[in-house]
């Protein structure tokens, strides 16, 4: 039974399109995250929600909008996709409010390719 699951695992789309990635965790955690991993494997935090409250909102284009309908779900919507948005997007969750204290549990990632 997958702890943190993301869908879809792969997206290939054209520039200018809008796409969404969904994430669900069944660990009972209060905090969820979106990370972006670029082609050089560098990880960057994008957003974090604690019990549906946005607690980390890094400097990302406002074309990226997270939404947490409940504490088990965190979705990422991207408008007007650009070539530079191509990356692997990881969802994660943690029991702790802060990512740098306890263990992070990651999903398998969603590879987005913008043509």
């Amino acid at each position: 039974d997958t702890a943190v699951s993301q869908t879809p695992k792969y997206l290939v789309t054209q520039m200018g399109n809008d796409k969404s990635i969904k994430c669900e965790q069944n660990l009972g955690h209060d905090t969820m995250y979106w990370y972006k991993q670029d082609s050089k494997k560098f990880l960057k935090i994008m957003f974090s929600y604690n019990n549906k409250e946005l607690i980390i909102n890094e400097t990302v284009p406002n074309r990226f909008s997270p939404k947490s309908p409940d504490k088990a779900h965190l979705n990422l919507h991207i408008n007007s996709l650009e070539l530079g948005d191509s990356a692997v997007y990881f969802c994660a969750s943690s029991q702790d409010r802060w990512q740098g204290v306890g263990e992070l549990f990651f999903g398998e990632g969603s590879r987005l390719t913008v043509l």
Partner: protein
């Protein structure tokens, strides 16, 4: 600014041998948390080992152990009896109260296991 440096972009080791991955970090805090995460080719990131800075004893998890040198701000990961399944990207990260425990990630080290 807080930084995490992994000076080895790639390491290789013979199966059954021991390998050490290096990590240094910069902080003025005395209390913080350090992590090593593993990302196999399947992409899902998993926690390998965690160290609390106030604990002098080095953390160990089976074949994985750390050499935590607080004064030198060094946190290296030793993998004993390397196995083919250890092949992955390894990321060092730390979280400290000064930045609300936001994780600071290293650039990663790719570990290759030679059969």
């Amino acid at each position: 600014a807080q930084t995490v440096t992994q000076s080895q972009p790639e390491m290789s080791v013979q199966e059954a041998e021991t390998v050490t991955l290096s990590c240094t970090y910069d902080t003025s805090e005395s209390d913080y948390y350090l992590f090593w995460y593993k990302q196999p080719p399947s992409r899902q990131m998993i926690l390998v080992i965690r160290q609390e800075a106030y604990k002098q004893q080095n953390a160990t998890e089976n074949r994985f152990s750390v050499n935590f040198q607080k004064a030198a701000k060094s946190f290296s990961l030793k993998i004993s009896d390397s196995q083919l399944g250890d092949a992955a990207m390894y990321f060092c990260a730390f979280g400290e109260p000064d930045s609300n425990y936001q994780l600071i990630w290293g650039a990663g080290t790719k570990l290759i296991i030679k059969p």
